[in-house]
Symmetry: C2
DNA sequence: ATGAGTGCAAAGGCTTTGCATTAGG
DNA sequence: CCTAATGCAAAGCCTTTGCACTCAT
């Protein structure tokens, strides 16, 4: 059943919560609660733990990362939490270049950003573009899409290379 | 053992084969053979079939796509072919937004391009950027990376949205 | 009390591997 | 001849599910 629901995932449009980009910590949780309530789900301790972890990690986390960081939340529950949070539009699943899916808070709850993928260590680093940068990227993306009759709703720009730490070796 | 080798994957630098972007069909296969020989592997019929398929598909293919298109190549062999071709730098694995990995020929053998990911049907469409476009993206990517002491080697720009076919419904 | 949420263990599904056979150099 | 390449079937691994128990409203 979750399957069908997940298939319906679409961007959650901000309504009266437009300026939460700089929400404080508590506001984030309140907002998540609202998102969950929209789909008749509760913001339980287990879910809070997952959201809290994603909010403070500063980078997308894999299931392993999560299971390791919150040992008292069983993997099966972690999977379910992530799935539910995804349906609620709170969490977004991204695909790194390795075989592991990563999860991060939706940009509605944080801010738009891109990723730097380290080929050496697999690390994923978040980077926030300047508005100038973003304006340009958006324009380019729209142009690319239009040529194919494609309707763009968002984009992802990943930079592949080697992180500072891996260059030292 | 393949594991260790895969961990060593790095971009294959073109040597005396710089201008193969417009290689004819046969030249592609010859080039693939060279890449395979570099790692002491043969360009067998099964591998040729996979490369041929990827070359003519015009879009990244999942294992299912491949298994379906080349029924006489067992899945286990397809997996091994893709893995080997990846090590040889002939094939690149990309991650779509769904759970299935897709495979495409490395840009060394084709040309640099980006992807349009349809949220509705999961389809991945290749789009080739103009050189102007690409120049700008590269510059922006370098800028993003530099801020983090990251050394960029390549980039991927994915546009998420709905393809023309899915908008008709 | 009633339905959602959670844990544990079992089931599933896709990938990888072992091993014996075939083929290419 | 010798090592790579293949097929098939078995093994692995991550993810999903079933079911009973707990918790919140």
């Amino acid at each position: 059943m979750i399957k069908e629901i997940v298939a319906m995932i679409r961007p959650v449009h901000r309504e009266s919560h437009d300026a939460h980009v700089d929400s404080s910590h508590d506001e984030l949780h309140e907002l998540v609660e609202v998102h969950l309530h929209r789909i008749d789900q509760r913001y339980t301790p287990g879910r809070q733990a997952v959201v809290e972890l994603l909010a403070t990690s500063g980078r997308p986390l894999s299931i392993s990362d999560i299971a390791h960081a919150i040992p008292d939340v069983p993997r099966s529950s972690a999977y379910r939490h992530l799935s539910d949070l995804q349906v609620a539009g709170v969490v977004r699943r991204i695909a790194a270049n390795d075989e592991f899916a990563r999860f991060e808070l939706a940009e509605d709850l944080t801010h738009h950003h891109h990723h730097l993928l380290c080929s050496s260590c697999g690390r994923v680093i978040d980077v926030t573009p300047t508005s100038d940068f973003e304006r340009t990227v958006s324009a380019m993306v729209d142009e690319l899409a239009r040529q194919q009759g494609f309707r763009a709703t968002s984009h992802a720009l990943d930079v592949i290379g080697h992180c500072a730490a891996c260059q030292e070796t």
